[in-house]
């Protein structure tokens, strides 16, 4: 990007909203993803839709890349800059525009922090359930772009279940408005759901209308410890099979328990092989009945200890401890590669076994935790990026895990997105026709491939790339 282009960008957003100082470039070269980073050419903080639109038009003219970014807590590299790119930071768009108590909706700008949104709507007795681990930091725009999940996904679903409408600036600079406050809307293609999970490759989201629900009247939080990993997994399957839907059912293995305990000091049993954190919520006596049934199932599956949180504070403390799991694992080794392979819930016990097996097979350390009720695991490799050999082993282990997940009818990512980190595995789940359709959509909307290119997939003709020189390198046409 040459200086004249930078000057033109500056004239669009204004000097104070533009930076290309080395310090800032370094600070916007990463997100929450391990191992990946790249310096952008410049960073801007646009103030309104018009500026974003003009930037898109300029990008098409001057052919530089545009990478949207929220708080940068993503775990698939979705907001990491690429070559010749301009980072568009949306954190200053942090206004809650309207809480509509009659229609049970909230209209927000994309830079609103998810946790802040939740506490604001809760003041009016309403509830926005999706709660990714980073909810106190991450932005709602990022949540929508990645279709973020969270602890409560089991009963309440994920971000896509709450997006009613959105506005976004398309790569050609036009403003797309889709959806609204209607509970039903089948006019044309469902573009709204199409925006959700597009990972910033189809447009920059500028406004979101979200559905809210009444806040659950009460909840019971149960904590159970197990001496055997498989018992805990079986308990999860049994609870699902008993037709109970807790609002969360979280699993932590021994390594994770120890790291979380190191951080929180709340008295988790360090010798337990596994822990389940289960919460049921709702109205009336059903909550107690469900809790009782769950406890019975836990007993039957040899839980060594079962506790019920005695207060709201204790329940919050336990959930906060669970949310720290990923980062707490970094206490063991300096690099933590976190993935989110997901399988159909009935296959969870098998998948947990496979992760343990992968750790042995490739001689790497894994911490395993996740949203057991969703079949959404977070196998986390504890390694050191300075050790190339170990990183190579970690990659092999993940390759193995992803293959196993797909074999079980699962997917390579449940809630973090494909981004840069998992694009090489996408074909395994999406299949060639699926992947080709995605690419065609991208090409149709973003003619010059200027918006967040190289994320999810790389747009290149199939014959392009380095020439294969060994037989096994030749990709079969399926």
């Amino acid at each position: 990007m040459n200086n004249s282009v930078k000057e033109r960008i500056k004239s669009i957003v204004g000097k104070p909203n533009f930076t290309d100082s080395r310090e800032d470039l370094l600070c916007y070269s990463y997100d929450g993803t391990a191992l990946l980073h790249h310096l952008p050419e410049a960073v801007i903080f646009p103030e309104n839709e018009e500026q974003v639109s003009l930037i898109m038009k300029l990008a098409n003219e001057e052919l530089f890349n545009v990478v949207p970014r929220g708080s940068g807590t993503g775990l698939s590299g979705g907001s990491i800059p690429v070559e010749n790119s301009l980072v568009v930071v949306m954190t200053k768009w942090n206004k809650i525009l309207e809480i509509d108590a009659r229609n049970l909706t909230v209209t927000v700008q994309p830079g609103v922090i998810t946790g802040k949104l939740q506490s604001e709507v809760e003041k009016t007795g309403l509830f926005y359930p999706p709660d990714p681990g980073s909810l106190n930091v991450c932005t709602i725009g990022g949540n929508v772009a990645n279709n973020a999940g969270g602890l409560r996904g089991l009963k309440y679903g994920v971000t896509k279940n709450y997006v009613l409408g959105a506005e976004m600036i398309l790569p050609d600079g036009e403003l797309l408005k889709t959806g609204g406050k209607n509970m039903k809307d089948v006019a044309g293609y469902n573009l709204r759901d199409f925006i959700v999970g597009s990972e910033g490759t189809l447009g920059i989201i500028t406004k979101i209308i979200l559905k809210l629900i009444p806040i659950p009247a009460k909840s019971i939080t149960i904590l159970a410890y197990f001496d055997k990993l498989t018992d805990s997994a079986q308990a999860v399957s049994d609870i699902i099979a008993a037709h109970i839907t807790p609002c969360m059912m979280e699993f932590l293995d021994n390594t994770t328990i120890n790291c979380v305990e190191d951080y929180t000091n709340i008295g988790l049993p360090r010798s337990s092989e596994a822990l389940l954190l289960i919460e049921v919520d709702g109205r009336g006596s059903i909550v107690e009945d469900d809790a009782e049934t769950i406890k019975n199932i836990l007993y039957k599956n040899n839980a060594s200890s079962i506790k019920t949180a005695s207060s709201v504070e204790e329940a919050v403390m336990l959930k906060t401890a669970r949310r720290s799991a990923f980062s707490a694992l970094a206490r063991k080794r300096p690099t933590t590669i976190l993935e989110d392979a997901t399988v159909p819930r009935s296959e969870l016990p098998v998948m947990i076994e496979k992760v343990t097996h992968a750790a042995h097979l490739f001689d790497v350390i894994f911490g395993n935790f996740g949203h057991a009720g969703d079949g959404n695991l977070h196998p986390t490799c504890l390694t050191d990026e300075r050790d190339n050999k170990e990183i190579e082993k970690a990659h092999k282990a993940f390759d193995f895990i992803f293959n196993e997940a797909v074999k079980l009818g699962g997917t390579i990512t449940g809630e973090h997105g494909t981004g840069l980190a998992k694009k090489q595995f996408l074909e395994k789940v999406a299949g060639v026709p699926g992947l080709e359709m995605m690419k065609k959509i991208k090409c149709a909307i973003d003619e010059n491939n200027i918006l967040n290119p190289g994320k999810i997939f790389t747009i290149t003709p199939r014959c392009e790339g380095t020439l294969p020189f060994r037989r096994e390198q030749i990709k079969k046409f399926q």
């Binding site: 310090e23 600070c27 391990a34 708080s71 954190t91 980073s134 790291c259 190191d262 990923f326 300096p334």
Partner: protein, 432 residues
């Protein structure tokens, strides 16, 4: 190894500190400076990235780098928030030392460091004499004239604000009033030593006296080693490790001569720093072991009471109260429950939890002098929360916070009394 990495490592606890951050971003929500600018480089995660860039030779020590490192309050809220246990505070302090060596400091900071750190803190007599002069000024008519004059307000507004910010110097200093050894009347439960401190001694003599009074009521022997110095936290937190180390060594020497169980601190900054002497002096062979012993004996007064005298009785006290967590208590020393436990054991006293209680008030050592405007933004936020509690008294376990909150109460017109918790304890504690 680059030259800067070498310099950083001299003051860091170990090499792994630099590579521990996994940039997950959990710290962002708790960082007051990130809240002010919303810029990644003003966040702990961003600063760590910059420090690493300097260490790896990807970035020179630039003005922006120096600014960001000094813009940081060093409140260490991010360390509490960090599940990975990254030692952010030590990284920023090390970077400040590197910045100072490279000469990239603001003139104001250079002047303060030169005059106060090098010429006053190392010489308690000079320090007290300066405080004495300030006392005369504070109680003179000249001050009143200066403060009421429109001309001075116009041209020296900043200096006048600083003047108002400075707490009043005590008439008699704590050091002069507290004898070397106070034996307990009954059999002494613990032998406690106290650090009278630099600012605590001359500006908060009353808090020091209250501390002694409380220890006496608890049947503890009180020892005040004669030849003691400032703890060194001010220079240490601002990257002047030479002065800090020198002060640490002198204090270790001074206290070594006495037989005591615990060193009781009533100022969170001092307590936190003295607990870190063992890391500060890790490379000083003669002092490694001594520093370890010294640090392990340090306890904050509230930590000490909550731990050793959990069932002590208090008189009833019918009042509404709120508690501000001093950064170096809650974040550096992880003392959060202890003061609340003590307050809650006082009958009839109603504790109203303060919103964002563990957010920095903006005092942060000499931060409110060097970054006055930013500091005031944080103070205003804090004072608004304090006003919302409608409490009569706010407690703060650090002299910096007390001075800042008192200034804030008058500046933002909040009707609140600012007290050190030890004063409350003294007023309500039963004799054993």
């Amino acid at each position: 190894m680059t030259k800067n990495l070498d310099k950083l490592l001299q003051t860091l606890p170990d090499d792994d500190v630099l590579s521990q951050c996994i940039h997950c971003g959990m710290c962002l929500a708790t960082c007051p400076t990130y809240e002010l600018t919303k810029l990644e480089r003003s966040s702990p995660r961003g600063r760590i990235r910059l420090i690493n860039a300097v260490a790896k030779g990807e970035l020179h020590i630039t003005c922006t780098f120096a600014y960001e490192m000094n813009f940081c309050l060093d409140c260490e809220a991010c360390e509490t928030a960090c599940p990975a246990g990254v030692k952010y505070g030590s990284m920023v302090q090390a970077s400040r030392s590197v910045i100072a060596q490279a000469g990239h400091e603001t003139l104001l900071k250079k002047i303060i460091k030169k005059i106060i750190f090098s010429h006053l803190l190392l010489y308690p007599e000079r320090f007290r004499a300066t405080a004495r002069l300030l006392y005369f000024y504070q109680n003179s008519k000249i001050r009143k004239i200066i403060h009421s004059s429109k001309i001075t307000a116009k041209y020296f507004g900043y200096l006048i604000e600083l003047d108002k910010l400075a707490p009043p110097v005590s008439k008699v200093f704590g050091n002069a009033m507290i004898p070397e050894i106070i034996k307990s009347q009954k059999e002494s439960k613990y032998k406690t030593a106290i650090l009278t401190g630099c600012l605590m001694d001359v500006m908060f003599a009353d808090v020091n006296l209250d501390t002694v009074e409380v220890l006496k009521k608890l049947d503890c022997e009180v020892i005040k080693p004669g030849n003691q110095f400032c703890c060194g936290s001010l220079p240490g937190h601002n990257g002047d490790f030479l002065t800090a180390k020198e002060l640490a060594k002198r204090n270790i020497d001074a206290f070594e001569k006495y037989d005591y169980d615990y060193l009781i601190s009533n100022s969170s900054g001092c307590g936190a720093f003295m607990k870190e002497y063992k890391y500060l002096l890790k490379d000083e062979l003669l002092y490694t072991e001594k520093a370890e012993i010294f640090s392990n004996k340090v306890k904050d007064i509230m930590e000490f009471i909550a731990e050793k005298f959990p069932h002590v009785a208090y008189n009833n006290y019918n009042e509404t109260i709120t508690y501000h967590d001093a950064c170096h208590l809650v974040h550096s020393q992880k003392i959060y429950n202890e003061p609340r436990r003590i307050i809650n054991s006082i009958n009839e006293l109603q504790l109203i939890e303060l919103e964002e209680a563990n957010w920095c008030c903006g005092s942060a050592g000499i931060y409110n002098i060097i970054h006055y405007t930013d500091s005031m933004k944080l103070l205003e936020r804090k004072m608004n929360h304090i006003r919302d509690t409608k409490a009569k008294i706010v407690l703060a376990g650090n002299h910096g916070c007390i001075a800042q909150l008192r200034y804030g109460a008058s500046k933002f017109e909040v009707n609140i009394e600012v007290q050190h918790p030890v004063t409350l304890i003294k007023n309500t504690l039963h004799n054993l």
